[in-house]
């Protein structure tokens, strides 16, 4: 049970809002040492795991020059102008549409984007633009609320409809695991049982983004009655 101390330390570190990188590295060192490794062995493991997984950084590193360059030339402003033409668009509807599209593509095992490639350059500015009424700029908390929900649309759309038609990730992992454990399951069955949650997630999105729109509307009407 002693080796769970590292996890406890990480939980406490997050709870006290210490720097997450520091918390994770110290937690890893402690877990390794309590697990019977020497400091040098743990550090070498860290280096090896970093090297094996460092391709995780690639999508962000190669995307930011494009996004930074285009934003300097008015990408966000252009997105806001585009969405103002669609009068039925609201922040919530933009997020919901993106969540569904993101889900539909991951059904086929495709990924159309991530936070760096889609949310920051396109989806967040679209949602903010849709919420901005003429002569009523968004307040800072409202802007944050919209952006957080745009990011949520990406995550929720990405997670819950993986592999239903074309399996490339999670379901293959489940199947491989059961195969090794000597239990027969077919990929078809796994895909079938993924479907109910994938549909439910769309309904949950409808509920949350409607709530977002309602919050934004309340502030807007309160402002209107004040003036």
């Amino acid at each position: 049970m002693l080796k769970l101390l590292g996890l406890l330390l990480i939980g406490a570190g997050f709870a006290f809002r210490l720097n997450p990188l520091f918390v994770v590295v110290v937690g890893g060192l402690l877990t390794g040492v309590l697990g019977g490794l020497s400091i040098n062995e743990v550090v070498a493991m860290m280096g090896q795991f970093f090297t094996d997984n460092r391709a995780l950084l690639l999508p962000v590193i190669f995307m930011v020059p494009i996004v930074g360059l285009l934003e300097r030339h008015g990408l966000q402003e252009r997105m806001a102008a585009l969405i103002r033409r669609a009068t039925a668009a609201t922040a919530g509807r933009v997020a919901w549409t993106y969540q569904i599209l993101r889900g539909l593509t991951s059904v086929f095992g495709l990924s159309i984007g991530n936070h760096a490639a889609m949310v920051r350059p396109l989806i967040a500015p679209l949602a903010e633009g849709a919420a901005t009424a003429p002569r009523a700029p968004l307040s800072e908390p409202q802007r944050a609320d919209i952006r957080a929900h745009a990011a949520a649309a990406e995550n929720v759309g990405n997670f819950f409809s993986d592999d239903i038609v074309v399996a490339v990730g999670a379901l293959l992992l489940i199947k491989a695991f059961f195969d090794t454990a000597g239990i027969a399951v077919s990929l078809r069955e796994l895909q079938l049982w993924s479907l109910p949650t994938a549909l439910w997630v769309i309904a949950v999105g409808g509920w949350r983004y409607r709530a977002l729109d309602a919050r934004l509307r309340r502030v807007a009407t309160a402002l209107k009655t004040k003036s």
């Binding site: 080796k3 697990g35 090896q48 090297t51 690639l58 494009i66 996004v67 252009r78 609320d145 999105g205």
Partner: protein, 318 residues
Amino acid sequence: MTLLTLDLFLALGGAFLAILSGLIATDESHPQRWGSAAFWLLLAVALGAGPWLPSVVVGYLLLAITLLVATKQVGAPRFPADDIVLKEARAKQLGNRLLWPVLVVPCVAIVGGALLPQTNFGSWSLVSPKHGAQIALVLGCLSGLVLALRTTGERPLVAAREGGRLLQLLGWALILPTMLAALGGIMGRAGVGDAIAQLVAAVLPVQFPFIAVLAYCGGMALFTILLGNAFAAFPVMTLGVGLPFIVKAHGGDPAVMGTLGMLSGYCGTLVTPMAANFNLVPAKLLELRDEYAIIKAQAPFAVAIWAFNLIVMAVCVY
């Protein structure tokens, strides 16, 4: 032989970070000039030269990076707010041409991911099939960059500066996902997962069929919250609770259990800071002041989806 390896593109990424380090070192107005320059230079070496260095050296580079961060030597400068009027004018002038570079990226990534691994010249292959999708994404980004440079008429150094501005906003959050992967590996090696599964099975009365389902779905979510990764939680919980109790003791259907168990794990992913690349990195990227803002927005999603998974599994698994 493989012509385009992933290591080659990672070295290119390292070169970009080294340029960023140089830009910071020559910027006299940067408030944390030397600490930040050192941070990006060390990271450039770890990223670009990783496979050619002994892993213990890479490990100590990462410790040095962490120390720089923990002692608050790394930061982003205050960037002058861009001229809004000028940007509005540029947006009007360039119009939808601004969108193409962003949209080109996923198109090239998807088409390239399908075609590249199948391109061979005799015994020479263009990319290794294992990394086809990742390399296609990088090629997509490079095509997007060329298009963006042409559209805006800027020099490449401006792209490096603007990209560097966004990278500095991310700072330490950029490497947190890889360090979490390392932590997960160390925990696996130290046997943390088995200890937790034993704990769950010892504490809960899993001889009741519904309690077994509750323990499995709850354990998947909880364990994912602790580790930040449902894929890491899945083998542990399934070996520790799912297979012995739901399948073997109560005769449950493994397909129903495995699928909905994994989906319960994803609900944990939505609410944990340990899933940094989904929850914390985007908060920084979107310049949210509260780094937990995305987790807070996702919490109601997580509860509603988890409860649904639990009910479907409880009704259909036996």
